[in-house]
């Protein structure tokens, strides 16, 4: 595809109580763009989390993040040890960034 840049795409899911720590971590890696989807639920090693259950109040967030290869390595190096405390999941895949007016990666 023309006019696109090869990039890495991170897809991170953590409990919402960890979101602040996660964004601080991304800030430290000088990440310049990410997207946050709150109100996520799911199943994981800690069991079911359902944000609709008013009694349990367990909510996940999904953070999607595209960045260049070198940046990606830095994020990976930071996030891998942190996952121990954060819990949750982190996937990495290949993607193409469509060049727009702004550079937020």
């Amino acid at each position: 595809m023309n006019n696109t840049i090869a990039m890495k795409r991170f897809e991170i899911v953590v409990g919402i109580e960890q979101l602040e720590k996660l964004t601080e971590l991304l800030d430290r890696c000088s990440v310049r763009g990410y997207t946050v989807l709150k109100n996520a639920g799911g199943l994981g090693s800690l069991g079911i989390r359902d944000p609709g259950d008013v009694m349990m109040e367990l909510e996940n967030v999904m953070v999607v993040l595209a960045c260049k290869e070198d940046q990606a390595q830095r994020v990976l190096d930071e996030i891998r040890p942190a996952l121990k405390k954060l819990g949750g999941m982190c996937l990495i895949s290949e993607c193409q960034w469509v060049e727009g007016p702004a550079v937020s990666y």
Partner: protein, 318 residues
């Protein structure tokens, strides 16, 4: 001479909706809004009627009843641990729930008294707000003492307990109600916090019914012990509360409310605190017992029984 109040029928219909799988759903935001309302309103009402007392006169009595409530988790724990064979974490967490209180059960008790035109001490609300503290602290100690694993983060836990929504809103309600009572400006606020109280409680009980129906199914799978505990332990604590209320010279209404406080158990503040303090406890167990068993038991059967208990104690001597 109706013993069942219309308002608790909303609970019945909530449970029924769950059982017959109606698609009735209370929006999450409404549930949260109603619970904020109820906590403020309960506090406010109590605060307004506290304005009639000399605060320094009642404080020692109130604080004694709060401190004594630490006996509730201390009684519950050995029963759960050694009779019920629950893990230390679960036994401690359940103890914390039963030591703590349910503001909605309290509200049903208040409505019961109102229907009978029975007076009660306004500062019962303050006792309710503060009872969370000894219960959650004692429960956590029981759950963690001697246990390995991560150390309890006491700072974080005390912050959670002391700034938790329910304690905060109740105390706020009490203070504002007390102030409004003192400066005689209760009037425009009572249209909201007093007149609408029962109607809001009705909505809330409808949702509680839906929630309890879901919980009861889960707890039923956990065996008969926890269900028996959820019925018998509140009766025991209710009797203890009624006895204390009588000893401390509360009115009959106040005695009954103290029984309700001792008998009722938490399903909002305690789960939040236990999630933090005892993450290895199973929340389905404690929530199931408190919301699926004890809460319905208390509002239908418990409240009239605690009233009879209060009556009985007050009839033995003057």
């Amino acid at each position: 001479m109706a013993s069942i109040q219309p308002v608790v029928l909303f609970f019945v219909f909530g449970v029924l909706a769950g059982v017959i799988k109606s698609d009735l759903k209370i929006p999450e935001a409404l549930y949260k809004s109603l619970s904020i309302f109820l906590l403020i309103a309960i506090g406010f009402k109590g605060g307004v009627s506290m304005a009639k007392y000399e605060i320094m006169e009642v404080l020692p009595v109130a604080l004694s009843m709060v401190v004594l409530s630490a006996l509730i988790p201390l009684t519950a724990y050995p029963i759960l641990r050694y009779l019920g064979k629950f893990t230390q974490a679960d036994a401690g967490a359940i103890s914390a729930h039963y030591g703590s209180v349910s503001a909605v059960t309290f509200a049903v008790g208040v409505a019961f008294l109102a229907a009978k035109d029975e007076p009660s001490e306004g500062y019962m609300v303050l006792i309710m707000a503060l009872m969370e503290i000894p219960a959650l602290v004692t429960g956590t100690i029981l759950a963690r003492a001697g246990a390995g694993g991560e150390k309890t983060q006491w700072g974080k836990l005390m912050h959670e307990i002391l700034t938790g929504t329910s304690l905060y809103l109740l105390v706020m309600g009490v203070i504002i109600g007390y102030y409004a009572g003192m400066v005689k400006l209760v009037s425009p606020l009572d249209k909201m916090f007093m007149d609408l109280f029962m109607g809001v409680l009705a909505f809330f009980l409808l949702e509680m019914g839906l929630l309890a129906a879901a919980r009861l199914k889960v707890v039923a799978a956990k065996g008969v012990f926890i269900i028996s505990f959820g019925v018998l332990f509140p009766m025991l604590m209710g009797a203890f509360g009624a006895y204390l209320g009588w000893i401390f010279g509360l009115s009959e209404g106040g005695t009954m409310l103290l029984a309700v406080l001792y008998a009722s158990c938490s399903y909002i503040a305690a789960p939040a605190a236990m999630r933090l303090a005892v993450p290895d406890a199973d929340p389905a167990l404690s929530l199931g017992a408190s919301l699926g068993v004890t809460f319905p038991f208390n509002i239908f059967i418990g409240v009239p029984i605690y009233w009879e208990m209060a009556h009985w104690f007050h009839s033995i001597a003057v």
